[in-house]
Amino acid sequence: MVKKTLMSLLPKIDIQAKALSKEVQLPDARLTILQQVNLTINSGETVAVVGASGSGKSTLLGILAGLDTASSGEVYLAGQPLHQLDDDARAQLRAREVGFVFQSFLLLPSLTALENVTLPAELAGIKDATARGRKLLADVGLTARADFYPSQLSGGEQQRVAIARAFITEPAILFADEPSANLDAATGAKIEDLLFALNEQQGTTLVLVTHNPQLAKRCQRQLNMHAGELSEQQPEVSDVA
């Protein structure tokens, strides 16, 4: 009883990486992309991973989201040992627990905005997918564009559809890879606001990969990736205040 009470007081862990390494074999050398990365992200946290190009940010994101596998180490996602799951089991876990927002939107060109949004819900077997989709499109301000195809939408509109798509399954965890990098500053800022607003509304854990220090600062935690090693930046005093 006491143990149970204590457990409920501890924060719920959504993502955990232990001694995570990733190496790739090149024709004449072995390249280390991630070195002994240890990481714990609690439920509801917003975390930014920053770092220079080629530092291993996206590789880490891929492994944490179950899109890629590590060379060694352990990864737990929503309590499931990703490193022990096969490709299909990881896909099913993603369908249940994970949402994505990508740098280049990656909408399916043959589906309308609404259909793109409802696709993950259908994959997860959610019944009222269309109603949810319409509501989310309304939330991102695209009610009038529901039946447009991606090629008929501007970049900012496409990313808003992608954000609606990411939230439709009410995922426990949302991974965002440079969500505003392909957009102009004003549109980018709007997209970021939308992302954080929906995140807050749904209480989603957010893992964000970005170059943009301003965007990173909007997250509760900032992790710095450098040559495959991860370190946590201490929040500045002003930020805490």
Partner: protein, 856 residues
């Protein structure tokens, strides 16, 4: 759930046009097979129906034994129509004159195919009959002259007397050979018995003629098989005859064209499948990132393929059937007497082709597509789907399987398949070398050309593949174009304009200059005069030759005695004959008189294949036609004993000759050295061309030289020309189809690169490239590709043409000078034109639109 998503994606992709390329390629493959098979079958059946006219039936059973009524009853129960025919030589008498005639006795149903035209008088407006009745005899016009009688006069045949009912104007199965045939007398088969000409030992040819459904004919063949003996054999159209060899070549060509068409269609399907996979990589990565498993992705895309396949196969079958029905209609209109036959073979073959293309060509790309890792969403780039070994193996297997299914000839399909494979490998090597060589070439060029060459070099592998398909498409088109031209010109040479159409036989030494004079007066030119004497071959190396017919008679009598002794019926008698006939060992003779000639120079259309042609100094020698030499088992140096007019003499075999029997020139089995023959009284044979407007000259000749026989081969020439025109048209139709297939492959190939080109154009435009510059670069790139493809195709086509000419079609080897400018020129114009047509809209797009399209 996946079915829902699959169905939605399918309809959306169909609407967006994503699936049209693959649907189009599959449709094309099915269409090509259905239309080519259908048209080929129609042409084949039209030709074989035409050739049926030459034998007056669809099938003939020849026998030297009297008719077995059981065989006719079997044919009747199968719903076939039948006719009886007996052929023999005998003497007819009219007053004091007598003449050896070749009698054809037929039943009323004759001819089952083709037209028999009998004129009831010699007047031009005479009534025409199409069949013969009992108690009638009809004669070849020259027989009236020879017997000095007219229509309505009486002649004696055996112990019967007949009133001449008219003359034979057209006989469908008249012999195509013009020499050595006694004039024809046509009578009713039921009247033969009364003449008492047929006696035990008489040499009679019995023919069972059948016509009807080809399946029923096949069944007949199987059912009567137990009733047949060694004296019975099925007759097919003689492949040695001019018509037979023309048909044979045409069939080979059609088969070859069909096979090549399938290779092209298969290429289109392969290109489309790869292109589809390439374009859908990111979509698969996205849906997998969103939680779709590999198995589900596989099901989604496999179901797309299945739906597209069903749709395209259906459309392909429909269009193919329409095309072949159109062709049938055309043939029907053109030939008049053509009976179209519906065949399901093209349809099931087409459906199977679609299925094979869909599974064996597309299964691998779809399999690989579903295996695209979800991680690609982060990499932001697709993998380049290079051909992998499995795709090559399944694709190769599919092509071979299709070729085999289509031709039913595994040897030809394997051979052609290996050849295509070798060509592809060779082309790949040549392409790699050329594209590398292009780099230093580009150094001193204008920037548009430099960009074009850089483009070519950068996409070395995709370009090599493109180059291979371009070259293959051009190569196949060139091959068909040149082979078609070759076949047609060979046939036309066989019957050139102005070829002799009248033969004069039986000219005496004194008549020779008179004939030359008469022809000269009429501005006509006589050909060579060949001396002719009839003689028999009696011995080879002092061994007496057996008479084939009398040998059969002896066996027959022996068999009958044995069968009678055993109390057996007709079939026992026939079986017995079979056993006794197998014991023949003696060298068999020719069984008839030969026309012998003597010459000092080797005639045109004759080639010495062994030994040497005798010179003027050589004595007592003979040159023998190679097939006859084979039949008589002759060796060079053998001594042949001849008898001419009862006088025996011997000649040594000094050479064997190959004779072109298709040439419609006087040809001889045996040519003797002049020393042997000079003492025999000879008559001469000559030939000349008589234009239609001068036919009155023939009447003048008949009056002035009553003993000279005039043989007109106009009918034969007309029949051959008809066939040639018909086959040429068929070849042209098929060439057009194959060319269309080749163009479609090119289109599919260029379309496969559209997306990449769109992005490149967007970049170049952003960097400030002008439309003129981009246009020049695109044109230069396609022109270079087209030129290379054209050159490769030309080289390979020349090599293959040489092989095909000599091996498959038995034509003489010749270089094709035209090929060397047509090939590269066609390649450049065609590929440049197509590239321009397909890319023009991209080049004209405003930069912002181009950018948005490239980025979406």
């Amino acid at each position: 759930m996946w079915l829902n998503i699959a169905a939605r994606l399918f309809w959306r992709e169909l609407r967006r046009g994503e699936l049209w390329v693959i649907a189009f390629a599959l449709c094309l493959a099915v269409f090509t097979v259905v239309s080519l098979t259908g048209i080929t079958e129609s042409v084949r059946s039209a030709l074989s129906q035409r050739s049926s006219n030459f034998i007056a039936a669809d099938k003939i059973l020849r026998s030297s034994l009297p008719f077995n009524e059981e065989i006719f009853r079997t044919a009747d129960t199968l719903g076939l129509t039948t006719a009886k025919q007996m052929q023999f030589s005998t003497m007819v008498f009219a007053g004091d004159l007598m003449q050896l005639v070749s009698v054809k006795a037929v039943s009323e149903s004759y001819p089952l195919r083709g037209n028999l035209l009998l004129k009831t008088s010699e007047q031009p407006d005479a009534t025409l009959l199409k069949s013969i009745s009992a108690q009638q005899v009809f004669l070849e016009p020259r027989l009236l002259q020879l017997l000095n009688i007219r229509v309505g006069d009486t002649l004696e045949l055996g112990v019967s007397r007949f009133v001449v009912a008219g003359i034979i104007a057209e006989e469908p199965d008249a012999p195509l050979s013009v020499f050595g045939n006694a004039p024809r007398l046509l009578m009713h088969v039921d009247d033969v018995a009364a003449t008492q000409i047929v006696q035990p030992g008489s040499r009679i040819g019995y023919r069972y003629q059948f016509a009807g459904d080809s399946a029923a004919l096949k069944t007949l063949e199987l059912q009567v098989k137990p009733m047949l003996t060694v004296h019975d054999r099925w007759q097919s159209l003689d492949r040695e005859s001019a018509v037979g060899s023309a048909l044979d070549r045409a069939e080979k060509f059609l088969l070859l064209a069909g096979l090549l068409g399938i290779v092209l269609a298969a290429c289109a399907a392969a290109v489309a499948a790869s292109q589809y996979s390439q374009r859908h990589q990111m979509a698969v990565a996205v849906i997998k990132a969103l939680g779709v498993t590999t198995a589900m992705a596989r099901r989604i895309y496999a179901s797309h393929l299945a739906m597209v396949s069903v749709f395209s196969i259906g459309i392909g079958l429909l269009l193919g059937q329409l095309a072949s029905s159109g062709a049938q209609w055309f043939i029907e209109v053109w030939l008049g007497d053509y009976r179209p036959e519906f065949s399901v073979r093209p349809l099931w073959l087409g459906a199977l082709t679609g299925l094979i293309c869909a599974t064996l060509f597309s299964a691998r790309p779809i399999w690989r597509l579903a295996a695209v890792p979800a991680l690609n969403v982060l990499r932001q780039r697709g993998q380049s789907f290079q051909l992998d070994i499995w795709q090559l193996v399944t694709g190769g297997l599919a092509i071979w399987l299709l070729m085999w299914l289509f031709s039913g000839d595994w040897w030809l399909s394997s051979w052609l398949f290996l050849l295509c494979l070798a060509f592809a490998a060779l082309l790949l090597g040549m392409a790699a070398v050329l594209v590398r060589v292009a780099k230093p070439m580009a150094a001193g060029q204008s920037s548009a050309l430099k960009l074009a060459l850089a483009n070519l070099r950068r996409r070395l592998w995709p370009n090599s593949f493109q180059l291979i398909t371009f070259s293959l498409a051009l190569f196949l088109t060139l091959i068909l174009y040149f082979l078609r031209a070759e076949l047609i010109s060979q046939w036309q040479q066989q019957v050139p304009a102005g070829a002799p159409n009248q033969f004069l036989v039986n000219i005496t030494e004194t008549e020779k200059p008179q004939i030359i004079g008469l022809l000269q007066q009429n501005q006509l030119k006589a050909g060579d005069f060949y001396p002719m004497v009839s003689g028999r071959v009696l011995t080879v190396n002092n061994e007496t030759l057996a008479d084939p017919e009398s040998q059969n008679d002896a066996e027959r009598q022996k068999g009958e005695q044995q069968a009678d002794a055993a109390g057996g019926g007709e079939s026992a008698k026939r079986n017995m004959e079979q056993t006794t006939a197998d014991n023949r060992v003696k060298r068999e003779g020719i069984g008839r008189e030969l026309n012998l000639t003597w010459l000092t120079t080797l005639p045109a259309n004759n080639d010495i294949v062994a030994g040497a042609w005798f010179g003027t100094a050589d004595k007592a020698q003979v040159s023998v036609e190679e097939k006859l030499a084979e039949r008589l088992a002759l060796q060079l140096g053998d001594k042949i004993g001849f008898s001419v007019g009862g006088q025996p003499f011997t000649a040594t075999v000094s050479s064997f000759r190959k004779v072109d029997w298709n040439s419609l020139q006087p040809n001889f089995f045996m040519i003797l050295s002049p020393d042997l023959m000079q003492n025999f009284p000879a008559t001469y044979l000559t030939a000349f061309y008589l234009p239609k407007q001068q036919t009155a000259l023939l009447n003048e000749m008949a009056r002035s030289f009553p003993t000279i026989s005039v043989l007109s081969v106009d009918n034969i020439l007309k029949q051959i020309n008809d066939i040639i025109a018909q086959v040429s048209l068929a070849l042209t139709v098929i060439l057009v189809l194959v060319f269309a297939a080749a163009v479609l492959v090119l289109v599919a190939q260029v379309q496969a690169t559209l997306e990449q080109r769109e992005q490149e154009l967007a970049i170049l435009r952003t960097l400030g490239a002008k439309t003129v510059f981009l246009r020049q670069a695109v044109l230069a790139e396609f022109a270079a590709l087209g030129l290379m493809a054209g050159v490769f195709a030309t080289v390979l086509a020349e090599v293959l043409l040489a092989v095909l000419q000599m091996r498959l079609f038995q034509l003489p080897f010749s270089l094709h000078f035209n090929l060397w400018w047509i090939g590269p020129g066609l390649g450049m114009v065609l590929i440049c034109g197509l590239g321009w047509l397909l890319l023009r809209h991209l080049l004209l797009l405003p930069t912002p639109v181009l950018l948005r399209r490239a980025l979406s």
